[in-house]
């Protein structure tokens, strides 16, 4: 057996899970799909005293609609979300991004909320939540709160979640029907974490851009919202968009790092190119240059 010893509990409700997390005083870790946690346990990089399995909590699963928004239960499997008709209709950007999360075998077990709560900066789900303006619902014995995805991430694998807190839902506001999906990533192999990637949505109204939400992954310690690019796009007519200039603004908001896969300079260079190309293809506009 590779992991250090731990106790295993499988609560049946959010209240029960929160009580266990509270009593454990920081010694407990939540397992959902386990597709990242199990490797960390096997490598003994994570050594909890108690493993809290949330797979038996029915209220944490499934997709629902409420008040102009779509809500995903955090323990919903990625493979189920990928096949979900509501998500396909309401959140095509999310579904596109999901197809790039891990592999066929890991999507069968990995969950949407697990990826969001983990906070891997090169992962697709956190950046998608930031781009689409999602809110993360959180519960503990101290009460419930809701945090904007953009404010949820503090650093690589670091979030505002306290040790006694549990993610209980992710709510994505509606985007108008027929909105434009932006997605592209560069990875060494399919299923690998992206070296650089971007995801977002654009809503058009009367030939110009009425709403924009775009975020990078693999371009900093957290998912990075392309604020300057969004501002430049808002209100602009489709014929007046200079894709290269907007891409340069988008890259200006990033803080990529060097690692053994790619340099920060590579990420900026490739990021700018994929951003411009994705924008141009999505809007079917020609480069002003």
């Amino acid at each position: 057996m590779k992991p250090a010893p731990f106790d295993y509990v499988r609560p049946a409700s959010i209240a029960e899970a929160c009580a266990i997390l509270s009593e454990a005083g920081g010694g407990a870790t939540v397992i959902a799909g386990g597709q990242t946690l199990m490797p960390l346990l096997n490598l003994r990089m994570s050594q909890p005293f108690i493993l809290v399995d949330i797979n038996g909590i029915a209220e944490l699963k499934g997709v629902s609609r409420a008040g102009g928004a779509t809500r995903i239960g955090p323990a919903t499997r990625q493979a189920e979300a990928l096949r979900d008709a509501t998500l396909a209709r309401q959140l095509p950007a999310l579904v596109t991004a999901l197809g790039h999360v891990g592999h066929y075998q890991t999507r069968n077990r990995g969950t949407v909320g697990g990826s969001i709560a983990l906070g891997e900066p090169a992962a697709e789900m956190p950046a998608t939540a930031v781009a689409l303006g999602a809110e993360i619902e959180i519960a503990s014995v101290r009460g419930r709160r809701s945090v904007k995805a953009e404010e949820f991430y503090l650093g690589p694998y670091m979030t505002v979640l306290e040790p006694d807190e549990l993610v209980t839902g992710i709510t994505y506001p509606d985007w108008p029907e027929g909105h434009v999906v932006l997605f592209r990533e560069v990875a060494q192999r399919p299923g690998d974490f992206a070296l650089v990637g971007m995801v977002g949505a654009l809503a058009l109204e009367g030939g110009s851009i009425a709403r924009a939400g775009i975020a990078w992954f693999g371009m900093g310690p957290v998912p990075v919202r392309a604020r300057q690019a969004e501002a430049a796009l808002l209100g602009t007519g489709l014929g007046d968009i200079d894709a290269d200039a907007v891409a340069a603004l988008a890259v200006a908001d990033t803080a990529p790092f060097d690692d053994h896969h790619a340099s920060a300079e590579y990420r900026r260079t490739v990021g700018k190119r994929i951003f411009a190309r994705t924008l141009r293809e999505a809007l079917d506009i020609r480069s002003v240059a």
Binding site: P5, Q35, P39, G102, H103, Q105, R109
Partner: protein, 157 residues
């Protein structure tokens, strides 16, 4: 360190056992029940050799705890062939096309292909190849596996 009584069905046969919380499903299948066809290699979710079906769905057995499989139906590579020894068509295609070299990755590859084809009998070669991104063949025998996939998709090999 908790221990748990679990009840699981492997290849149609029911087993009851007591497992330590930290035992992975893959380890339990091999060491606890003797289904050594499931191969454990990297044990951190990269190689795909340990892939089994849990309630029909292909998952990495190193990334799931045995206790989490309580009440589940598992299919390992030993459960693919018919009781009379007739190979599953995925196994037959791999054999016909030299889709294995040392054979270490093969149980996982066969389980994934069987799951993809059960989910969608009309799966294309492209669908099957996409699912293969989750498997590593250290012999680099990928071309044989791709030929087997083309045969399974009814394409010219």
């Amino acid at each position: 360190m908790s221990e748990h009584r679990i009840d699981i069905t492997v290849n149609g046969r029911r087993h009851t056992a007591t497992v330590e919380a930290r035992a992975s499903l893959g380890e339990f299948l091999r060491e606890g029940l003797g289904y050594t066809g499931t191969h454990l290699a990297c044990e951190h979710g990269v190689c795909g050799a340990c892939t089994v079906r849990v309630d029909g769905v292909a998952v990495r057995s190193c990334l799931m705890l045995a206790v989490q499989a309580d009440g589940c139906e598992i299919t390992t590579v030993e459960g693919l062939a018919a009781p009379d020894g007739t190979l599953h068509r995925v196994q037959q295609a791999l054999q016909d096309n030299f889709g294995l070299q040392c054979g270490f990755c093969t149980p996982g590859v066969a389980i994934t292909l069987a799951a993809v084809l059960d989910d969608d009998p009309a799966a294309t070669a492209q669908d099957m190849e996409a699912a293969m991104s989750g498997h590593v063949c250290r012999c680099t025998g990928y071309q044989g596996i791709r030929r087997a996939i083309r045969q399974l998709a009814g394409e010219a090999v």
